[in-house]
Symmetry: C2
Subunit: 262 residues, 2 copies
DNA sequence: CGTTATCTTGACCGTCGTCAAACAGGGTGG
DNA sequence: CCACCCTGTTTGACGACGGTCAAGATAACG
């Protein structure tokens, strides 16, 4: 049975357990993310770190959230996840990717129903916070609400950019753009041509994100590799010609609203 | 020179003028929209109605906002507008449509830069509220903040749905889905087969919204009309076979989070 | 070491884009 | 009131980008 600071061992479900609110640094990634787009005072930080939560671990192909349990909000502490929707006949569209520190279902604080799903791309460590506690915090500390909202505003901006890609660019640019975004979101200090980035996406997932089949994603990636723009070994990607990749993608990081990049 | 409650006569720019905060019902559409997704108490309503604003009128192909003026937030009182981005080489993607009562640039309250544009689809009447006044209101009345955020959450949900359409459905379904969404957003009380809906979009705009060329949009619309699914005379659209249109689109209004529809 | 997921490649085909030209409609000015 | 735009719609011919199907090669994993 999971409890504060201890990994859940059973199936990847949130099991009932006593919640503690003693301050801990487990939620620190959340602070770091919030500070990318808003001011977070030390008081705010402490209030967040003092939130009650349950720690759990979710294995790869499983859902981070459960639609029938709106009373918990999930924060990724480690690993990657993606948000996706599906059509009636099973076609999937990935609409966003999530990295450590992000709260993946804030909308539960504001909307009644949850109409999509969030899956772990890698093994994930997740903190689950009771929605009620979060609501209380949001009401009592407006600055935290503002920071959370700023984060969702950035997510919206990323949605808009992805829409432009999927709707108006060709396959090559779409794939290149996705890689550019990942590179910038993962590497805080500029892109080094030789450095390896861990991008654990299957070609199927890339296709689902940019509206292509995995087969065509493969053709595009092969071409980029043959041209020496990037190299790839498993999930390790190296950006050999970063400028050229950005050019192919029509990429400009402005839409990510990362303060120290603008 | 525009002043409270009076139409601006000059070019469609916000001219400087004295701001009044005497309560007026001009902002009432905003209340109505907020109440679609959140509780708005009478006190909150009065606080919103008491906001200072400048009334102005924007003609069809012009921008509702000016990127260099983040100190004002715009609310549509009458008319339609759309939000769009463009690639380097001029390809346009419309990412959302906006109807009366919506604040089109709340993100200015949270993010520094504004990386896209909002244009009037029809002649629009707009109220422009000083960002500072709105910020003050948001800080002092958390419930209003919550209502505004709920609205942006719904907008995000619409983004995700559009992404699914553009990324994973064929042209026929995409166009049908766009029409379904408009019908539901415009008609509050269900879709009457004979009723005319005013949908003032060019086929070029439909294409820009769903990632198609205007030419192909035309082919799809022609087909739908020939099959008797809908009829169209100028901007007047009639949904003759509403069930069938929904079926073609794979449409389900859940993602719009309209309370009385769920 | 076997089993399964993922990647890779080729051949073929369809949806949708491109190009071009004609047509309708609504506003403006003579 | 008609001529004349300009914008938007409509249609056809043609081609390409990317999907589909199928099969084999690699890599991941228990």
């Amino acid at each position: 049975m999971p409890y504060l600071g201890m990994r859940a061992t059973g199936p990847a479900f949130l099991q009932e357990s006593a919640l503690s609110s003693s301050s801990s640094i487990a939620l620190a990634p959340m602070i770091a993310k919030l500070r990318l787009h808003a001011e977070v005072s030390d008081d705010d930080r402490d209030a967040i770190l003092g939130l009650p939560y349950v720690f759990r671990s979710v294995d790869k192909p499983r859902s981070l959230i459960r639609n029938n349990r709106p009373e918990y909000c999930a924060i990724i502490l480690k690993g990657f996840a993606f948000r996706h929707k599906t059509t009636r006949d099973g076609l999937r569209q990935i609409v966003s990717f999530h990295t450590p520190g992000q709260m993946v279902n804030i909308q539960q604080l504001f909307l009644k129903s949850f109409d999509h799903d969030i899956q772990a791309m890698t093994k994930c460590e997740v903190a689950t916070i009771p929605t009620a506690a979060l609501q209380h915090l949001a009401l009592s500390r407006v600055s935290i609400t503002m920071a959370l909202v700023a984060q969702t505003m950035v997510e919206s901006s990323i949605y808009r950019q992805l829409m432009l890609n999927v709707g108006r660019r060709d396959a090559r640019a779409r794939v290149a753009h996705l890689l550019c975004e990942f590179a910038v979101r993962l590497g805080d200090e500029g892109i080094a041509p030789g450095r390896a980035y861990y991008i654990p996406m299957t070609q199927q997932q890339i296709g689902d994100a940019v509206g292509l089949t995995s087969i065509h994603v493969n053709r595009v990636l092969r071409a980029l590799i043959n041209e020496g723009v990037l190299s790839k070994k498993g999930s390790e990607v190296r950006f050999l010609k970063w400028e050229k990749l950005q050019d192919i993608a029509g990429f400009n990081s402005r839409y990510l609203h990362i303060a120290n990049l603008v």
